[in-house]
């Protein structure tokens, strides 16, 4: 029997920002040695609650008990002294420092004013071996993978002696392999008696790793359930507050003429290495072509080349019969491109600007938004109000900043802007990254709708489910090349996984049938 003492108990937590209640009388108990999931839609108030626990925010009312004692957490360091450590969604690491330097930052042990670097390194090595958190202690953060950065963040909390870990959306940035590794790490941590709170809206992950789950909806704690005895569908319905469908409803595609044709494309990434190598591809009107692949196999470079954000080394890209390689982005956009960019904060939105200004980002220079070089604010606002209504962007008004929107609503604003221009060709790069099931459902439905309206859609995603569910054809990208084009109705996830890892199509099929036989033999 595991020790069931409550390590954390939050009672009636309310946090008010102005007239808005981000948290409304939330209760949460975490037992020792468990993985406790906090499930909720974007903007439901999960992060606010955890920011209260980690001392970044103070609650308006409510009580917090840590190991049975009532506490007031007034700062992150107070929280750390209570044994609570948080790994933020956006890592708090100094790029130019080594992993060791980052881990000891703030708690450096010194002797006569000199860093005890060797001792620290030894301690980190021991910790990393004990929990299977592999890192290279002397590597600089800027040169290591996102997965290793995350492990360094977890080590940072362990190094401080914390035994209650909060992980905010830990899998949002990881590849499928890294996610599996993380799950193993979480299990080994709880085995050693650590308690973990994991904030997420990915239900499969909760099923895979969590013991109990508290569902938060619109600032209120709806229920705390035992994960083993609750189905994925039940969890999803609890979170959204209505019944949601995971399946994408769609009829078979009716592909017509090619809208985008890529021939022998070569693109170099910023270090001068070839990221896209001699790639050829066609996207037809009335189909969704999915690009599957592990992050870093040239997908982003391919999309940046099509959209004019990166220089093309050689080869041709033809959109609607016009060669567009190396043309300025605006010319390409006007030729008939809509682009939902991979990084919505970097490329998709100007966060400090208002929503109406952001929604006019691609069309501000045209009538009716602009006449004789003067902007027509009223026309921009009117159009934005219409889009907000039509695409169900939840905001106070079109005059709020893009920053003030939740992730899902930011994405909806971008989609509204891109789709409403009626482009013949639409690129959706990681369109549902970091979004909850409700928003995902909405976005998938929109992509299929575009296809049914005779548009060509290119969907790039690292999520296998998404590519398999939404696409009509799947092109698998590996090391800058298309290694196979498959029909999602005929391919299995395993085959797709093998292709993504670099096997050829025949090999993948052979391996798959072989393992199928073996398992049949075992039976």
């Amino acid at each position: 029997m595991p020790d069931t003492a409550n390590v954390i108990e939050m009672r009636g937590i309310t946090k008010q920002f102005g007239s808005f209640k981000a948290n409304d009388n939330i209760n949460l108990t975490v037992k020792k040695g468990e993985v406790h999931a906090l499930l909720g839609e974007n903007g439901a108030g999960k992060s606010t609650l955890m920011n209260i626990l980690s001392g970044l925010l103070e609650p308006t009312s409510g009580e917090i008990y840590v190991n049975g004692e009532k506490v007031h957490i007034t700062s992150p360091s107070a929280s750390s002294r209570l044994g609570i450590g948080m790994v933020h969604q956006h890592f708090m690491l100094v790029d130019k420092f080594t992993i060791t330097e980052n881990i000891i930052l703030g708690t450096e042990k010194t002797k006569l004013g000199f860093l005890e670097r060797r001792e620290a390194q030894q301690e980190i090595k021991e910790l990393s071996e004990r929990y299977g958190l592999f890192v290279d202690p002397s590597a600089k953060v800027e040169s290591v993978s996102v997965g290793m950065q995350q492990r360094a963040e977890i080590l940072k909390t362990l190094y401080r002696g914390n035994d209650i870990l909060i992980l905010d959306e830990p899998t949002a940035v990881l590849t499928p392999q890294e996610i599996t590794e993380l799950m193993d790490i979480l299990r080994s941590l709880t085995k050693e008696g650590k308690s973990i709170i994991i904030i997420t809206h990915k239900i499969e992950e909760i099923k895979a790793v969590a013991d109990r789950c508290t569902v938060i909806r619109r600032g209120k704690s709806v229920d705390t359930v035992d994960v083993k005895t609750t189905s994925q569908q039940e969890l999803a319905d609890l979170m959204v507050g209505r019944s949601v469908s995971f399946k994408v409803d769609k009829t078979p595609a009716q592909p017509k003429e090619p809208v985008l044709t890529i021939k022998n494309l070569v693109v170099k990434e910023n270090r001068g290495l070839e990221a896209v190598k001699d790639l050829s591809l066609e996207v037809r009107a009335g189909e969704i072509l999915g690009i599957a692949g592990i992050d870093g196999n040239g997908q982003s470079e391919l999309i940046h080349a099509i959209t004019g954000l990166t220089k093309v080394e050689s080869g041709t890209i033809t959109l609607e019969g016009k060669e567009i390689q190396n043309l300025p982005p605006r010319v390409i956009t006007e030729t008939g491109l809509g682009h939902i960019p991979e990084d919505r904060h970097k490329h998709g939105l100007i966060l400090p600007m208002t929503i109406y200004e952001n929604m006019a980002l691609q069309t501000y220079y045209k009538e009716p938004f602009s006449k004789n070089n003067f902007l027509n604010k009223e026309a921009m606002q009117k159009s934005a109000r219409k889009l907000i209504e039509e695409y169900d962007v939840r905001t106070q008004s079109e005059n709020s900043t893009a920053e003030s929107l939740s992730g899902g609503n930011q994405q909806k604003a971008i989609i509204a802007r891109e789709i409403s221009r009626q482009p013949k060709f639409l690129i959706a790069a990681q369109p549902t990254r970091g979004l909850d099931v409700g928003a995902i459902e909405y976005i998938h439905r929109n992509l299929v709708e575009q296809r049914d309206n005779g548009k060509a859609v290119l969907l790039m995603s690292f999520e296998l489910d998404e590519v398999m569910n939404v696409s009509d054809r799947i092109a698998v990208m590996y090391e800058g090349k298309i290694v196979g084009i498959v029909d999602p109705r005929e391919v299995t996830e395993q085959e797709l996984g093998l292709l993504m890892a670099g096997s050829s199509l025949e090999k993948a099929k052979a391996l798959e049938s072989q393992s199928g036989k073996e398992s049949a033999n075992v039976k």
Partner: protein
């Protein structure tokens, strides 16, 4: 809406508190040196606003500061730190005076606007150099504009001594018809040097506000400044916007110099060092939160400090050195507004908690 209101409130509180804290520190410094702060500030206010003459001088001093501050704010909106406003102002001053004294027989209707435009262009080109280098070679505009400050200083001094005069330290006065001085205005202001620059400053403030908020170009400049990547994604031409914003910024700095040359002094003379007006203009823009209206108020405040400060030694016996320390301490608190913001947040955060407990 509520949080937005609160934000603008904090935004206003910060500069006001900066000024108040600066005045308090200034008072403490005066006390520390054994002077009466109340008498000191009284003579400062008298010296800035006590008579039509002083009011005129304050407005005269504020006009170029406001224009230069607006210049800084435009480059700043595009994400650039134009630290070369002084050099650009000096070039504007030099070229406008040069043009004016070169054609003493031309009618004022032509000579005056031509000289003004020449000065504006000189400042614009001087800043444009940094803009072009930044756009095409990625060089830091900070370093380039600092260097161009020195270049402007020494080029100006050389030209005054060797080309505009025969080894004299100051040029002749510009012809009467090219001056921005207006007799009725000077008389109204007790014979002060206040001139048409005041009206130019008002018009320019309105134009800059319209440009930044109402025009397509202003929207592009703001976009590039806030997020260059999204601007590129939206098909904006980054190079064009970099050069354009620096060009306008320098043009306004040049106009500030024109006001000095054709309004305040009516000539140009050898400078001992890089003129302060550019740096003061920067501080004015920062205190005014890069907003046109804010810049007008902070420009007036700076002028009151400087012009009023000049009366303190006579009016209350506070020596010039202490006056400068007092002014500097006010500017220091403007620069340290992060600190004030921090305390405001801390303070209002605590208040929230108390309200909740009740």
């Amino acid at each position: 809406m509520l949080s937005e209101n609160k934000k603008t409130l904090t935004n206003l509180t910060v500069p006001i508190l900066s000024v108040v804290l600066g005045l308090v520190l200034g008072a403490l410094i005066m006390l520390g040196f054994g002077y009466d702060p109340i008498a000191g500030y009284q003579s400062m206010i008298n010296g800035a606003l006590g008579s039509p003459f002083y009011i005129g001088e304050t407005l005269r001093y504020a006009s170029p500061l406001i224009i230069i501050g607006l210049g800084f704010s435009i480059a700043n909106s595009a994400g650039f730190f134009n630290i070369g406003l002084s050099g650009q102002a000096l070039m504007g001053w030099l070229v406008s005076v040069w043009v004016a004294i070169s054609f003493p027989d031309v009618s004022g209707l032509i000579l005056l606007p031509v000289s003004v435009i020449a000065g504006v262009l000189a400042g614009a080109i001087w800043a444009g150099i940094a803009g072009v280098l930044r756009a095409y070679f990625g060089t830091s505009e900070v370093i380039i504009t600092i260097m161009l400050n020195y270049t402007a200083l020494h080029v100006t001094n050389y030209l005054i001594r060797n080309v505009l005069t025969e080894s004299s330290d100051a040029t002749a006065r510009i012809p009467e018809q090219a001056s921005l001085r207006m007799d009725w205005l000077s008389q109204l202001a007790g014979g002060s040097r206040v001139n048409a620059g005041l009206f130019i400053a008002i018009v320019v403030t309105i134009l800059v506000w319209i440009f930044m908020t109402k025009t397509t170009m202003g929207y592009e400049i703001r976009s590039v400044g806030m997020n260059p990547f999204a601007s590129q994604y939206a098909g904006m031409n980054a190079k064009k916007n970099i050069i354009l914003s620096m060009f306008i910024s320098g043009g306004l700095a040049g106009l500030g110099g024109v006001l000095e040359g054709m309004g305040t002094f009516n000539n140009i003379f050898v400078q001992a060092g890089i003129p302060n007006i550019g740096f003061d203009g920067m501080a004015v823009a920062l205190l005014g939160l890069s907003h046109p209206l804010g810049i007008v108020f902070s420009g007036l405040l700076f002028a009151m400090l400087k012009i009023g400060g000049a009366s303190m030694p006579l009016g209350s016996g506070v020596p010039t050195e202490v006056v400068d320390i007092v002014i500097a301490s006010i500017i220091f608190f403007v620069g340290a507004n992060y600190l004030i913001r921090f305390f405001i947040n801390k303070f209002s955060g605590k208040k929230d908690v108390k309200g909740g407990v009740k």
